[in-house]
C-alpha cells in the first residue's frame, strides 16, 4: 500500500491537531498526502501550512516554494506560509526574496516566535549575523517556543559564538527573569559547551518557568543534561513526562533504558530493552544489544550477556569486542581462562592497528622531574582511588611530577581531594574530543602515562592507543587480563598475580611491585572489630559482598554445596545490584534453581560505606566470587577481621584475592579448584577458634609495615618500575618541542608590544572587513608581528591573506622588509584585503587556484604556486595561515604540503611560522617536518590553536 493509499479517505476525517502531530512526528510523506487531500476538499490555511512544511521536511525546497506561492495567492500574507516560503527560498539561495518574506511574516505576526525564528534564519543565511541574533533573541523573549531555543542555540554554536550567546542571555537575565525558551537555550548552549551542571541547572529552571508544558524535545534534552550531571532520578522524571506524551518514541525509550541502568534498576531496563529491540533499525539495535549484554552482565547473567555480544561481534559491530573481553573474565572458567583472554586481546590489537600513535614532544632540559600522567574516570572514593592514592602520595615529589587526566569529573570526596593535592596539575578531559584530549596530554610532555581505567564505563582507551607519553603502564582500574594494546608497554603486577610461568598469557611486559601490587588507603572512620557472629548466633553466617556482576553459576553451585555441608548456616548477599526488588526476585529464582533454600539467605542492597563495613562484620566467613575475584571487597573484609575463602585461576582477575590473601599471610584460604573452595569453606566454618584468631589479627596485619596498607613500600616499588621503564623506552616516534603555557617572546620591550596591540586595535576598529571576517587569531598575529620586528626579514611570504597582511605591511618600515608576498585562493576576499592595504606598495598579492598534491606520504590541497613567486624568493620568513582545512579527507593535511616547497622558496635559517599548530593534521605535519630534519629550533606558542615557530634546517 502506498502512502497516499494509506491516508486516502482518512485525511478528511483527520483533525487539525492530527495533522500537526504528523508534522511533529516528522511523518512527512503521510502529512503531505493528508494535507493535499484535505486541501482538495475544503482549502484551509492550516492545511496549506502543513503541506509546505511537509515538503520542507522532505528537503523538496522547490516544490515547497511553489506550493507556498500558490497558497499565498489564496491566503494572502498568511505569516506561517510566508515563514515557510522564506525557509524554502533560503535553502534555494534566494536570500533577498527570503528576507522579504520573513520580514513580511514578522510584520503580520509580531507576537509569533516562529516568524522571528524564520527572520533570524533568513538573516543568518544572508550573512547578517548581528540582526539575526537580535531576531533570535526576540523569538526567545516571546515565551516557550522550543524551535526558537534549538535554532538560536544552533546559530550561536555554528558561528562559534557560544560564549557570546551565553553572555547576551546573562545580560538579559540581569534585567529581568528569563523566559522558558531563553532558559532552554541557556541549557542547550551549556550542553554544547560540555558544562553539564550549568546545563542541568538551566533546564531544571526552564522546565518550570513557563506556564505551558515543556515540549518533548526539550524534555529529552533536559533528561540528557540531568543524566550527564549525575541526576538520574530527575532524568527519569523528565523522560516519564515526555513518554506520557509520546509513549512509543524509541529514542525516549532508549534514553530511559540508560537512565534505569544508571539507577541500578537493571531488570526493568532489561525488560524494556527486550520489548524495544525488534523495533529498532540495525545500528541502534546493535547499540541496544550491547546495553543488554551489559545489563545481564551486571546481574551476573553472563551466558545471556555473551550471546548478545557474540551476535554483535558477528555482525561486525566494532564496540562489541572490548566488552566481550570484560564478560569473558566473568565467564571464562577452568584451566584455559587466561589463554582465551589472550586470544581476544590479540584480536583487539589487530583491529586497533589503524589508530596512529601521536608524535611526541620534548620538554626543556631544565625540567628534570619524571612527568607521570594518570588517566582515570574514577579519581576518588572508588576502588581505583582506595588502591592507588597511597602509592602516588609516597612518590618522591622531587623526582616525579604527577599530572591527573580525568575523563569523567564527578567526584568531590576525601580521596578525590588527595588526588588533586598530589598532582601538580589536574586536567579535565571530559567534553574534549580525542584529538584535543591527546593534545592536552602531549603538550605536557609526559614521560609515563599510567592507565587507571581499562575498559570500564566511560573509559577512553583510544587515548591510550594513541600513546600520548613515552611509555604507558597499566595499573588497577579494570586490570583483569592482558589488553593486547600495542601502546601499553608494561602491566604492573606482583609475584602472585602474574608469576613467571603465566607471563606468556600477556602481550605486555610484566613488571612487579614487591609484596602486593596495590596500596590500600584505609578509610578514616571504620567500625570497631567485633567478635565473630557465631559466638552469639550459634551458627555460621557466610557472606557475599562483591559486585553482583561477579556472580557465576559455578559459584552458586559451590555455595549450595557449602550450605549443605554446614547445617544451620546462613548466607548474606549484600550487593548494590540487589537493591532493586525485581532484581532480587529474579536472583531468588536463580538461587532456587541451584537448590539453595531462600530461608537460609538474607539480602541487602547498597548502603553508606560505614554501614557496609558494619554489615561485613555481621558474617563469619566471606565467600569470594569467582572466576572474577574480589579486589577491594577482600581487603575490606580483612579490615573488619573477616576471612575470605577464594578460588583462583590463571587470568589476572581470577588472582586478585589470591594476591591479597597471600600477602596477608592467608594463603591457606586460597583454593585451586571448586572442590577445594568448598572444602576450605566448610573446614573454616568448623573452626571457631581460627575465626576468632582472624578477627583479632587481620586488621593489624593489613596495616603493618611492608603490608598491603604500607604506602611507602608500594611507592618505592612504583618508583623503581617507572625508572626502569624510562631506561628501556626507545622512542621511535617523531619528536617535536612542546609548547609551555608560559612560552612567549621576551625580547621586545613591553612598550613595543603595547604599540603593536594598539596598532591591531586601531586597524580592527577602522576596517570593518576584519571585525567579523578575520581568520588568524589575534595572539597569532601579535606573535607574528613581534617576530617580524625581531627577525627583520627582507622578504616575507604569507599563505592566507587577511588582517595579518595589513598588520605586517604597517610594520614593514620598522622591520626593514622590502616585500610581502601574500597568497590566497579566495580571489574576492583577497581583493577586499588588498583594498584595505591600499597604498602599501610593499605587498604583492597572488590569487591562485588549488590542487591536490602529495607530500611526505600524506595527501592535501595546496596553492598552485606561480613561477613569479619563486623568482621573488628566497624568503627570510614564511607565515603559514592557509590554506583552510577542508576537502573530503579528514584531518586534511593541506598545510603540511607547504613542507614540499620549503627548499624552493626559502633558505637555511628562514623563519617558518605555522598557525593552528595544535590541530591534529598540523601536529602530524610538524612531527614529519621535524623527523625529516626539514626544520629545527621548533617551539609552539600557547595561543588558542597553537602557533609553531621554527627555522628551516
Amino acid at each position: 500500500m502506498t502512502v497516499v493509499q494509506e491516508v486516502s479517505g482518512v485525511a478528511a476525517a483527520m483533525s487539525k491537531s492530527d495533522l500537526r502531530h504528523l508534522l511533529e512526528a516528522e511523518n512527512w510523506q503521510v502529512a503531505e498526502a493528508a494535507a493535499r487531500e484535505r486541501l482538495a476538499v475544503t482549502p484551509e490555511a492550516n492545511d496549506a501550512v502543513v503541506l509546505v512544511n511537509a515538503l520542507l521536511g522532505q528537503g523538496n525546497f522547490t516544490a515547497a516554494e511553489a506550493a507556498a506561492s500558490d497558497w499565498l495567492a489564496v491566503f494572502v500574507d498568511d505569516p506561517r506560509l510566508l515563514t515557510a516560503r522564506a525557509e524554502a527560498r533560503t535553502r534555494l539561495g534566494a536570500h533577498a526574496e527570503a528576507l522579504h518574506d520573513a520580514n513580511r511574516a514578522v510584520l503580520f505576526a509580531p507576537e509569533e516566535p516562529a516568524a522571528w525564528v524564520g527572520l533570524a534564519e533568513a538573516l543568518s543565511a544572508a550573512g547578517q549575523n548581528e540582526d539575526a541574533q537580535d531576531a533570535y533573541l526576540t523569538a526567545l523573549a516571546l515565551g516557550d517556543h522550543a524551535a526558537a531555543a534549538f535554532r538560536a542555540a544552533r546559530f550561536w554554536v555554528d558561528h562559534e559564538l557560544l560564549d557570546e550567546g551565553l553572555k547576551v542571555l546573562r545580560e538579559i537575565e540581569s534585567t529581568r527573569a528569563l523566559t522558558a525558551a531563553e532558559l532552554w537555550c541557556v541549557g542547550l548552549l551549556h550542553q554544547e559547551a560540555g558544562d553539564e551542571r550549568e546545563a542541568a541547572s538551566a533546564f531544571r529552571a526552564g522546565l518550570h518557568a513557563g506556564k505551558a508544558n515543556a515540549p518533548v524535545s526539550i524534555l529529552a534534552a533536559a533528561a540528557d543534561a540531568f543524566r550527564s550531571a549525575g541526576q538520574n532520578e530527575e532524568a527519569l522524571a523528565a523522560l516519564e513526562r515526555a513518554l506520557a506524551r509520546k509513549p512509543e518514541d524509541s529514542d525516549l525509550l532508549l534514553q530511559r533504558v540508560n537512565v534505569l541502568r544508571e539507577l541500578d534498576r537493571n531488570v526493568e531496563a532489561i525488560e524494556e530493552s527486550e520489548r524495544l529491540l525488534p523495533r529498532l533499525p540495525s545500528e541502534q539495535r546493535h547499540a541496544l544489544m550491547l546495553t543488554l549484554s551489559n545489563l545481564h552482565s551486571r546481574m551476573g547473567e553472563h551466558r545471556e550477556a555473551l550471546s548478545y555480544l557474540e551476535a554483535c561481534d558477528a555482525a561486525g559491530y566494532e564496540l562489541a569486542l572490548s566488552q566481550l573481553c570484560m564478560v569473558i573474565n566473568h565467564e571464562a572458567y577452568g584451566s584455559d581462562d587466561g589463554a582465551r583472554l589472550l586470544r581476544r586481546a590479540r584480536q583487539i590489537r589487530e583491529r586497533a592497528r589503524s589508530i596512529e600513535q601521536v608524535p611526541l614532544t620534548v620538554r626543556h632540559q631544565t625540567q628534570r622531574r619524571i612527568r607521570v600522567g594518570l588517566l582515570s574516570n574514577s579519581f576518588g572514593c572508588h576502588p581505583v582511588g582506595w588502591l592507588t592514592i597511597g602509592a602516588f602520595e609516597a612518590l618522591d615529589r622531587d623526582r616525579y611530577e604527577i599530572i591527573c587526566f580525568s575523563t569523567h569529573e564527578r567526584r568531590d570526596d576525601p580521596i578525590a581531594r588527595r588526588f588533586r593535592l598530589v598532582a601538580s596539575e589536574y586536567v579535565v578531559l571530559e567534553g574534549l574530543s580525542d584529538d584535543l584530549a591527546v593534545r592536552e596530554m602531549v603538550m605536557r610532555g609526559l614521560d609515563v602515562l599510567i592507565d587507571l581505567q581499562g575498559y570500564s564505563a566511560r573509559a577512553r582507551m583510544e587515548l591510550v592507543m594513541r600513546k600520548p607519553a613515552r611509555a604507558v603502564l597499566k595499573w588497577v582500574g579494570m586490570q583483569a587480563y592482558t589488553y593486547g594494546i600495542e601502546a601499553i608497554d608494561a602491566m604492573i603486577a606482583d609475584a602472585l598475580e602474574v608469576p613467571p610461568e603465566l607471563e606468556h598469557l600477556y602481550t605486555e611486559k610484566i613488571v612487579r611491585i614487591p609484596g602486593s601490587y596495590i596500596s590500600y588507603a584505609v578509610p578514616e572512620q571504620v567500625p570497631e572489630v567485633s567478635a565473630p557472629p557465631i559466638e552469639q548466633n550459634g551458627y555460621i553466617t557466610f557472606g557475599f559482598f562483591n559486585n553482583l556482576q561477579k556472580m557465576s553459576d559455578p559459584w552458586l553451585a559451590a555455595a549450595a554445596r557449602i550450605l549443605d555441608a554446614v547445617p544451620q548456616s546462613r548466607l548474606l548477599f549484600k550487593t548494590r545490584g540487589l537493591g532493586e526488588p525485581k532484581a532480587r526476585e529474579r536472583f531468588e529464582r536463580r538461587l532456587e534453581g541451584h537448590g539453595i533454600a531462600l530461608e537460609r539467605c538474607a539480602f541487602a542492597g547498597r548502603t553508606p560505606h560505614f554501614e557496609h563495613l558494619k554489615a561485613i562484620s555481621s558474617v563469619d566467613i566471606a565467600l569470594d566470587s569467582f572466576p572474577y575475584t574480589g579486589g577491594l571487597t577482600t581487603l575490606e573484609c580483612a579490615l573488619m577481621g573477616v576471612p575470605t575463602v577464594a578460588r583462583y585461576g590463571s587470568s589476572f582477575a581470577s588472582r586478585h584475592s589470591l594476591s591479597h590473601l597471600a600477602n596477608l599471610g592467608l594463603s591457606e584460604l586460597c583454593a585451586a579448584s571448586d572442590e577445594e573452595f568448598v572444602a576450605k569453606a566448610v573446614a573454616l566454618a568448623a573452626d571457631p577458634a581460627r575465626l576468632g584468631e582472624y578477627r583479632r589479627r587481620l586488621r593489624a596485619r593489613l596495616l603493618e609495615a611492608g603490608g598491603l596498607g604500607d604506602h611507602r613500600r608500594a611507592g618505592e616499588g612504583l618508583a623503581r618500575i617507572i625508572d626502569e621503564v624510562m631506561v628501556s623506552v626507545n622512542d621511535q616516534r617523531a619528536v617535536v618541542p612542546v609548547a609551555l603555557p608560559e612560552a612567549s617572546i621576551q625580547k621586545l620591550p613591553s612598550s613595543q608590544i603595547t604599540q603593536i596591540n594598539i596598532l591591531i586595535d586601531r586597524l580592527m576598529a577602522e576596517r570593518s572587513l576584519f571585525q567579523e571576517n578575520w581568520s588568524a587569531e589575534r595572539n597569532a598575529i601579535l606573535i607574528g608581528a613581534q617576530l617580524l620586528i625581531q627577525e627583520k626579514p627582507r622578504k616575507l611570504l604569507e599563505f592566507g591573506s587577511g588582517l595579518s597582511t595589513l598588520v605586517f605591511s604597517q610594520l614593514c618600515r620598522l622591520a626593514g622588509t622590502d616585500v610581502i608576498v601574500s597568497v590566497d585562493q579566495a580571489a574576492e576576499w583577497q581583493k577586499a584585503v588588498a583594498r584595505e592595504c591600499d597604498g602599501q606598495e610593499v605587498v604583492r598579492f597572488f590569487s591562485t587556484s588549488m590542487s591536490k598534491t602529495e607530500c611526505l606520504g600524506r595527501i592535501g590541497e595546496f596553492y598552485d604556486m606561480p613561477e613569479e613567486i619563486y623568482r621573488l624568493g628566497p624568503f627570510d620568513m614564511v607565515f603559514i595561515d592557509g590554506p583552510i582545512q577542508g576537502g573530503s579527507i579528514q584531518p586534511s593535511f593541506n598545510r603540511a604540503m607547504a613542507g614540499k616547497i620549503f627548499r624552493n622558496i626559502a633558505k637555511t635559517g628562514t623563519v617558518i611560522v605555522l598557525d593552528d599548530a595544535w590541530r591534529a593534521a598540523e601536529m602530524v605535519a610538524l612531527g614529519l617536518w621535524h623527523s625529516m630534519r626539514l626544520v629545527r629550533d621548533m617551539k609552539i606558542f600557547h595561543t588558542t590553536r597553537g602557533l609553531a615557530v621554527m627555522r628551516l634546517a
Binding site: 541547572s201 532520578e233 530527575e234 588527595r418 608560559e742 603595547t754
Partner: protein, 477 residues
C-alpha cells in the same frame, strides 16, 4: 533527593508546581535554578511566604541579595500569622547580615526575638547581629542562653559564642569554651577555624597552625582549612609558607579568584580582574572604616602632592578636569573637593564601591569599568589623572602608564602611588596578592614624562608593619 522527587512527581502527576520544583532544586544545592524558578513569582508579587523563604535562602547561598530583604520585610509586615512573621524576620535578618547591613539586621532580629525569645534559630541570628554591631557581651548572653537550654546546640551557636567571647576580649575563655564543645562536632572544621582565628588574634601562630594541621585529613584537605593556614602563615610573616597553603587551596578550588591569582605567581602581570572586583564588592560596606583603622594615608598624601606640584594649583587656577582611576568609595573626591573647579570622573571595577562613591555626591561622573579597558576606549583628554593605591593590583605597569599618557592633554599631570619593593628590578607579587614595584622600574617607565617628584612615603600598616610606597607626580610634556 529521590524521596523529594518521588513525592513531588507522584502528587502532581509529573507536572509539579514551581515551589516543589524550587525545593527540589534547593535539595540539589542548585541555587541558581531556585532563583530562576521563583524569580517571576517574587517579582510579580505572586509568591507566597513559603516560596519567598526558599527564594531568600537560595539568594543568600548564591550571594545575590539585592532587594531580597525588602521583599521579606514587606511580607512580614503584611502577614498575620505570628509564626510565619518570625520566620520571615529571621530570614530578613540573615539576608541583611549577608549584605553587611548590620544595624538593619539587628532590628529585624530584635523584632523576631521579641516574638519568639526561646527559638534557637531566632537567638542565633540575634546573637550574630549583636556581634556585627559590636556588642559582643550582649551576644554572649544570648548564645549562652540558647546553648544552655538546648540539648544539642547548633555549631553556629557555638561558633557565635566563641566569637562573642573573643570580641569581648575574653580570648582565653573563648579557646577554653570552643575546645570543650568541639568534640560534639567531629565532622565539622568550622569550630577549629574559629579557634585558630582567636589564636591568631593572640599572636599564637604556631598554635593555630598546629590546631589546623592536626585535623584528620578529610577535614584538613579542604579549601577553608588551607586558606586559614595561609592566613596564619601570613600573620607570622612566613610568606613562602602562606603561598604553599594557598596553592594547595587553589588545587581544590581552581576557580576561586583570589587563589587563582596567587597561584598564577609572577606569570600574571596583573591581578585577576574577577578577584579584584569580588574583593572590593564584598569589602565595600566596611572599606573606609577598615582602611582608616590601618592608618591609610594615601588620599592625604595625594592632596599634599597635588598642592605642592600641580601647576594649576601653584598658579591658583584650580583643577579643570580630573580622572580618578580606581576611585573606590571616593576618598580622592573628598580630599580634592575644594581644589576642583571642573569635572571629576571616577572609574572603578567594583560596582559596590562606585555605589558608595555616588552617595558622596562629589563626582560629576562615575563608571564601572576595568581601567585599562576604560583608557583604551577613552577619547577625551584630561588635565589630571590620579591613580591612588590601585597600581598594587598591576605587576607590569607599562601599558597602563602608556595609556594614561595618551589620555592626558599636553601639560597634563599624572599622580599615582605604588607599593615600593626594595631590591628588585621590576615588580613582584607578594603572598597577599598585591604587587610591589622597584623604583628603577617605575622611573624607567617615565622616560617620556617630565617627572616632578618621586617621594618615598608610608602608605598604611599591614600586619603591624608599615607599607612603604612611592608617590609620583609627572607631567606629559
Amino acid at each position: 533527593m529521590s524521596t523529594n522527587l518521588q513525592a513531588a512527581t507522584q502528587t502532581q502527576g509529573g507536572e509539579f508546581s514551581g515551589l516543589a520544583a524550587a525545593r527540589l532544586a534547593a535539595a540539589l544545592g542548585d541555587n541558581q535554578a531556585v532563583l530562576r524558578i521563583l524569580r517571576p513569582m517574587v517579582e510579580s508579587g505572586e509568591a507566597d511566604a513559603e516560596a519567598l523563604i526558599v527564594y531568600a535562602e537560595a539568594a543568600m547561598n548564591a550571594g545575590r541579595l539585592d532587594g531580597v530583604a525588602e521583599v521579606l520585610a514587606q511580607y512580614a509586615e503584611e502577614t498575620e500569622d505570628a509564626t510565619l512573621q518570625t520566620r520571615l524576620r529571621v530570614k530578613q535578618a540573615q539576608v541583611l547580615l549577608g549584605g553587611n547591613r548590620n544595624e538593619e539586621a539587628l532590628l529585624a532580629a530584635l523584632d523576631a526575638a521579641e516574638r519568639a525569645p526561646r527559638d534557637p534559630e531566632v537567638a542565633e541570628v540575634f546573637g550574630h547581629a549583636l556581634l556585627r554591631v559590636g556588642r559582643p557581651d550582649h551576644a554572649a548572653l544570648v548564645f549562652r542562653e540558647v546553648i544552655e537550654a538546648s540539648a544539642a546546640p547548633s555549631f553556629r551557636c557555638v561558633v557565635g559564642m566563641i566569637q562573642a567571647l573573643a570580641d569581648a576580649g575574653h580570648r582565653e575563655a573563648a579557646l577554653e569554651f570552643g575546645d570543650a564543645f568541639k568534640q560534639r562536632f567531629p565532622n565539622q572544621f568550622v569550630i577549629d577555624l574559629e579557634l585558630a582565628r582567636v589564636e591568631r588574634q593572640l599572636g599564637r601562630y604556631d598554635a593555630a597552625r598546629e590546631r589546623l594541621v592536626s585535623l584528620p585529613p578529610s577535614l584538613r584537605n579542604t579549601v577553608e582549612v588551607f586558606v586559614a593556614l595561609g592566613e596564619t602563615a601570613l600573620g607570622a610573616l612566613r610568606d613562602d609558607e602562606a603561598r604553599e597553603w594557598f596553592a594547595k587551596a587553589h588545587k581544590l578550588n581552581p576557580k576561586e579568584p583570589f587563589l587563582r591569582h596567587i597561584a598564577a605567581g609572577d606569570k600574571a602581570s596583573r591581578a585577576d580582574e574577577e578577584y579584584v572586583r569580588g574583593l572590593f564588592d564584598s569589602y565595600a560596606a566596611r572599606f573606609e572604616q577598615s582602611l582608616l583603622s590601618l592608618g591609610y594615608r594615601v588620599p592625604g598624601l595625594i592632596l599634599a602632592a597635588v598642592k605642592q606640584h600641580h601647576p594649576a594649583l601653584v598658579s591658583g587656577e584650580g583643577l579643570s578636569s580630573v580622572l580618578d582611576l580606581g576611585c573606590g568609595t571616593g576618598l580622592i573626591g573628598v580630599v580634592l573637593h575644594d581644589v576642583i573647579k571642573g569635572r571629576l570622573k571616577g572609574v572603578d571595577l567594583s560596582a559596590r564601591m562606585i555605589d558608595h562613591a555616588r552617595k558622596k555626591g562629589l563626582y560629576t561622573e562615575l563608571e564601572v569599568a576595568e581601567i585599562v579597558a576604560y583608557l583604551k576606549a577613552e577619547r577625551k583628554r584630561w588635565q589630571t589623572i590620579i591613580a591612588a593605591d590601585v597600581f598594587c593590583y598591576f605587576g607590569d605597569l607599562t601599558e597602563v602608564i602608556d595609556r594614561c599618557f595618551a589620555a592626558l592633554e599636553p601639560g597634563g599631570v599624572f599622580v599615582f602611588s605604588v607599593e615600593h619593593e626594595r631590591g628588585i628590578e621590576t615588580w613582584s607579587k607578594r603572598a597577599t596578592g598585591r604587587f610591589g614595584h622597584g623604583r628603577g622600574f617605575v622611573e624607567g617607565l617615565l622616560k617620556a614624562w617630565r617627572v616632578l617628584a618621586i617621594d618615598e612615603v608610608v602608605l598604611r600598616m599591614d600586619r603591624g608593619h608599615p607599607v612603604d610606597g612611592l608617590l609620583v607626580v609627572a607631567v606629559r610634556p
